[in-house]
């Protein structure tokens, strides 16, 4: 699968891995792929939101879920988790994004998967997928983003 990735999309996956370990997660999920995509300025423009905002939104989702089980994380000392030397696999949801991204590449008449094809595939995620929750939390208008990407497409 990865041989079909353009260099930019490989960088997206590398960034997604970085975001995964920073957060202390053990698998690369769709929410990390979305953060990875946001390392690209073009994706930031298409989504109308940036990396910091998306990281903060994930944190907000975590905080409110913890509040529901009675845990208040306010004032707890936390630090980014160092990169792991262990293999970090994809979640099944993240794996399922890859063929959908390839389909987007083909639809756009491209040969190699670009970050925007990953983004288009992520926009199709539905609840309870974590990227879908994040997009909702961010108030992203998916149809408008699709339209912006396909208009500027490559």
């Amino acid at each position: 699968m990865f041989e079909q990735f353009a260099a930019e999309a490989r960088a997206t996956v590398a960034s997604a891995l970085e975001e995964t370990t920073l957060r202390g997660d053990r698998r690369i999920g769709t929410e990390h792929l979305l953060l990875g995509v946001l390392h690209e300025p073009r994706a930031v423009r298409a989504l109308g939101t940036d990396l910091e905002t998306a990281r903060a939104a994930l944190d907000t989702l975590d905080r409110s879920a913890l509040a529901v089980v009675g845990i208040d994380v306010h004032g707890i000392e936390r630090a980014p988790v160092p990169a792991s030397r262990k293999r970090t696999p994809f979640t099944s949801g993240a794996r399922a994004v890859l063929p959908r991204a390839l389909a987007e590449t083909r639809r756009a008449g491209g040969r190699r998967i670009q970050p925007e094809h990953l983004l288009l595939a992520l926009l199709d995620c539905e609840r309870p997928d974590p990227a879908a929750d994040l997009l909702t939390e961010l108030g992203v208008d998916r149809a408008a983003v699709r339209e912006r990407i396909r208009r500027t497409g490559r």
Binding site: R23, G24, D25, R26, L61, D62, R63, S64, A65, L66, A67, V68, V69, I71, V73, I76, E77, R78, A79, P80, V81, P82, S84, R85, R127, P128, D133
Partner: protein, 67 residues
Amino acid sequence: METQELSERLRSHDPAVGLRAVGALHRLAEQVEAAAVARAREQGWSWEQIGDALGVSRQSVHAKYGK
């Protein structure tokens, strides 16, 4: 306040919230550990002492946090 409490209680029956809370607890544990290990190192704790405190081997703490 009462309505908020009620809505929280209703949300707690949503499995998506409960499952996210578990994931968030894992992440929180990792992030608190990273902060605590850094502080312990600053204060001169050995990898062995930190490993014992965390209930893991000296090697695994060092592999994760050693530079």
